[in-house]
């Protein structure tokens, strides 16, 4: 016991020394501070890396506090840009207003939430939105525990669920799209903020069903099997549709396709380093988002977003309602510019 405290004490001293050593600011660097969704992080980071090559005097830092955590900092004026895997929520709109923070909302790419099962699962070929709802809604907790409870004909074997934790925008969007209410789901599943944990879980468990962003499925294709989703609405693709770059892009993978965003602080945009970074972001998001596993918006959408920045149009395209399902970004963007 004694030994332990000594170590702790030494650790504290060491930490203080290291931190104080690091906090000396050298040179005349300019900073762009970004925080927020871990889903958007790969794109923002890729853009930041390229951008650094262009101008070494600008330091771009990208954090991963989660969409909700990012907005908390953003609306307190601590960050210049917030990464978000869902639109801003009413409570966050209020917080920003209270602190007099104006923001410009810019969609940067699409993501498709993929329902995945183990490759050894032989019985499930597709699933409907109704069945997903039955399985994930709060009332299912401790009740729906076997595959045959989801669909008669599936075996009487336990079903093990895997999904992102409650701090993630991916969880928010999934619950909105499937259960119909943001942040409402059962609680007895393996919840992790780290998507790699979910991949590991589903890939080693025959009775598993999980969901996460398309990028993580694409990266682990050989270990997972995607489960096509049928929204029973023939207007956007007949029958079950599997998640892929194509189906997300042409809008048939519904309701689990979603745009992802960055939010830019209006005042910060007057600083040249921030506006240069945002400019560079919109110019290169098409290439870089594909590189890291997401689906680019149309050329038109990026041009419209560019205009939004030039005209300094603040507020949310989604009127601050949080996650919305089945959004066609081009259409919404165009409307907002008229």
């Amino acid at each position: 016991m004694k030994m332990k405290w000594k170590n702790v004490f030494g650790g504290i001293i060491l930490t203080v020394l290291i931190v104080s050593g690091c906090s000396k600011k050298g040179g005349d660097f300019k900073y762009v501070k970004i925080d927020g969704s871990s889903t958007v992080f790969p794109i923002s980071e890729a853009v930041a890396e390229e951008f650094r090559k262009k101008d070494a005097n600008i330091r771009v830092t990208v954090g991963i506090a989660g969409t909700g955590g990012g907005f908390k900092k953003f609306c307190a004026g601590e960050t210049d840009i917030s990464d978000a895997s869902r639109p801003i929520k009413p409570s966050e709109v209020e917080l920003c207003q209270k602190n007099n923070i104006g923001y410009i909302e810019l969609p940067v790419a699409y993501d498709g939430l993929t329902i995945v099962i183990n490759p050894k699962n032989t019985w499930a070929k597709h699933i409907t939105v109704q069945e997903l709802k039955k399985l994930w809604q709060p009332a299912a907790q401790d009740k729906i525990k076997t595959w045959n409870q989801v669909r008669a004909g599936w075996p009487n074997r336990p079903i093990h669920l895997y999904g992102p934790g409650v701090d993630s925008g991916t969880y928010d969007y999934f619950t909105e799209a499937i259960v119909g209410k943001e942040h409402a789901s059962r609680g007895d599943f393996t919840a992790s903020e780290d998507d790699n944990v979910l991949v590991q879980g589903v890939s080693t468990d025959e009775e598993a069903l999980g969901f996460f962003g398309l990028a993580y499925y694409e990266e682990n294709k050989n270990k997972l099997k995607p489960l096509p989703v049928d929204d029973e609405n023939n207007a956007n693709g007949r029958g079950p549709v599997a998640a892929s770059m194509e189906t997300v892009m042409d809008g048939t993978y519904q309701p689990l396709s979603r745009p992802i965003f960055i939010y830019v602080n209006q005042k910060a945009l007057n600083r040249p380093e921030v506006s240069q970074y945002v400019q560079y972001y919109l110019e290169n998001a098409a290439v870089l988002s594909r590189e890291v596993g997401y689906i680019p918006l149309s050329k038109k959408a990026y041009a419209l977003a560019q205009k939004r920045v030039e005209k300094r149009i603040t507020g949310s395209l989604f009127e601050g309602h949080g996650s919305q399902v089945g959004v066609q970004i081009d259409v919404v963007l165009e409307k907002s510019l008229q």
């Binding site: 709060p138 609680g187 919840a191 903020e193 080693t204």
Partner: protein, 285 residues
Amino acid sequence: MIKALLFFCGMVSVLTTLGIVGILVFETWGFFQHVSFKQFFGDTQWTPLFTNQHFGIWALVSGTVLTSAVAIGTALPLGLLAAIYLSEFATKNFRLFVKPALEVLAGIPTVIYGYFALTFMTPFLQNFIPGLSGFNALGAGIVMGMMILPIIASLSEDAIYAVPPSLKEGAYALGANKLATIFKVVLPSSFSGIAAATILAISRAIGETMIVVIAAGQQPNFSFDPREAIQTMTAYIVQVSLGDTPTGTLAYQTIFAVGMTLFLFTLLLNLFAHHLRRRILKGHL
């Protein structure tokens, strides 16, 4: 001056402990303003972060007890046999080589044990046990057993070593062979030392965090089936404190209520172990 400085250093640990206990009690008090004892102790579901809220601590306690039981089930026989071998059978040179090697196990960072459980032990066990989830209490528990093995082996060996030679010689004089001497005389005489080692190992297992966070799953599950994914008390605390839980919310207070439960568990065990060790020192075997 130096004396005051040293006094201050000594007080740091005491004050830290007092501070921790104080905060635990304070926040736990706040938690029980919202959640009744009946909800806490009378339910087997633990889902405080979700819409359908349940606060049944047993779902987490069962996870902790299960992994610790598997760990002790692995470490006690292995550790005890290793201790017997080292003190009674091994040659001096071999002992000089093996004992430090065993203690090196205690120096491996637990995050490495965690990934060892996840990426080696579990796939290995899946060869024999069909239906074993990718995250499960069994693999995590066995690897945790390896981690606490040095505690049991080393402390038990000290206890066995401390058995007076006269007792052993007496047994031999009565015609007992080596095995009979060990199991009938040496082990019973060193019982309280071995028990103290075991209890220390148990409290280490209960408090272990990294291995179970990585390998046992993060699903509160009131079950004593080691093939399933579970969540321990420590893993829950990690899960919540990693996110952006605002202070003062119920979700924030749950981690203190769980922490308090955990604290009481290990406190009781440590007191018991302390008591046993004192008995040894006094010579009551």
